[in-house]
């Protein structure tokens, strides 16, 4: 066994790639060794961050038009500390089959169970929608308090396979009137289709963070 001691490995000439070993080879990282990634590491995990978006109240919709394909079996889309300008906002998601040129606005069958606690009493409601996947309703008003938000996720599966797309998810929030809301939902789009883009929309301009992950 020989040891190669260098400070940097660079592709030769105009090439931009370096290949380590051949199929069947094993590279071992010994105990105590630190591997630091300051770039992009592809395929090291079954879960990969596809996109991260910060929303600062400049748009009523966010269209994610890349990264949704056959690469992953399912996708989980997180929305973090999301609020919107104005009172009584609804947050929703739609799908597109044409790369985001248009988004489907009917034909969904969405249902969710909302549990509410005011601090003194509880209530619950079953909700339904056909115009979109409803991620939350009565989400915090950014204009009232910038420290309040809705957090949650929606999952979708095999978007490149022509099926009736199924959605699952949950959210929790400090509602616009100060209650704790937990919202669990599921549903589907009623026509078999592939899709390659999603839209997150609200009644008014949106604040917060969106992160889309793919899972193998």
């Amino acid at each position: 066994m020989s040891t190669l001691e260098v400070n940097k490995i660079t592709p030769q000439g105009v090439a931009t790639e370096v290949t380590l070993g051949d199929s069947g080879d094993t590279f071992t990282i010994p105990s105590g060794v630190t591997l630091t990634n300051n770039g992009t590491a592809n395929n090291f995990s079954d879960c990969v961050l596809i996109s991260s978006t910060s929303m600062s109240g400049t748009a009523t919709a966010v269209n994610i038009t890349s990264g949704i394909d056959s690469t992953y079996t399912f996708y989980r889309f997180y929305y973090i500390n999301v609020s919107a300008a104005g009172a009584g906002n609804t947050l929703f998601m739609r799908i597109s089959s044409d790369g985001g040129s248009s988004f489907i606005s009917s034909g969904y069958k969405h249902t969710g169970f909302e549990a509410n606690y005011t601090g003194g009493s509880t209530s619950s409601a079953v909700q339904g929608a056909t115009g979109f996947v409803q991620l939350g309703n009565n989400i915090p008003n950014y204009g009232d308090n910038t420290t309040e938000g809705a957090c949650g996720y929606v999952e979708f599966y095999t978007p490149s396979v022509s099926r009736k797309p199924v959605f699952t998810g949950l959210s929790s929030q400090f509602s616009d009137n100060g209650d704790a809301d937990a919202y669990y939902w599921g549903g589907y789009y009623g026509t078999a289709t592939t899709f390659d883009a999603i839209q997150i929309g609200a009644s008014n301009n949106i604040y917060g963070t969106l992160k889309l992950y793919g899972y193998k």
């Binding site: 929303m55 400049t58 748009a59 890349s66 609804t90 209530s123 909700q127 979109f132 009644s203």
Partner: protein, 70 residues
């Protein structure tokens, strides 16, 4: 009125004006969202009415909640 479009070319997003079709859809969306809210408000009103009628029959608030989940 704008949308933020995330793409391979613009991974951090680019702000784009809504088209006339998207503006029209947004108006439909706002109407639809209000309809959904009204459905919820109407249901809550029916529940409140039912609770009041049960209370008038002599049931306590705890009895109504434990028995009927209201």
């Amino acid at each position: 009125m704008k949308k933020l479009v995330i793409s391979k070319e613009n991974p951090n997003g680019i702000l784009v004006d809504l088209t006339s079709e998207e503006l029209a859809q947004r108006e439909l969306d706002l109407t639809y969202i209000e309809e959904l809210k009204q459905i919820k408000i109407d249901k809550e009103a029916r529940i409140a009415s039912a609770k009041a009628k049960l209370a008038a029959l002599g049931l306590t608030e705890a009895e109504i909640k434990d028995t009927f989940g209201l």
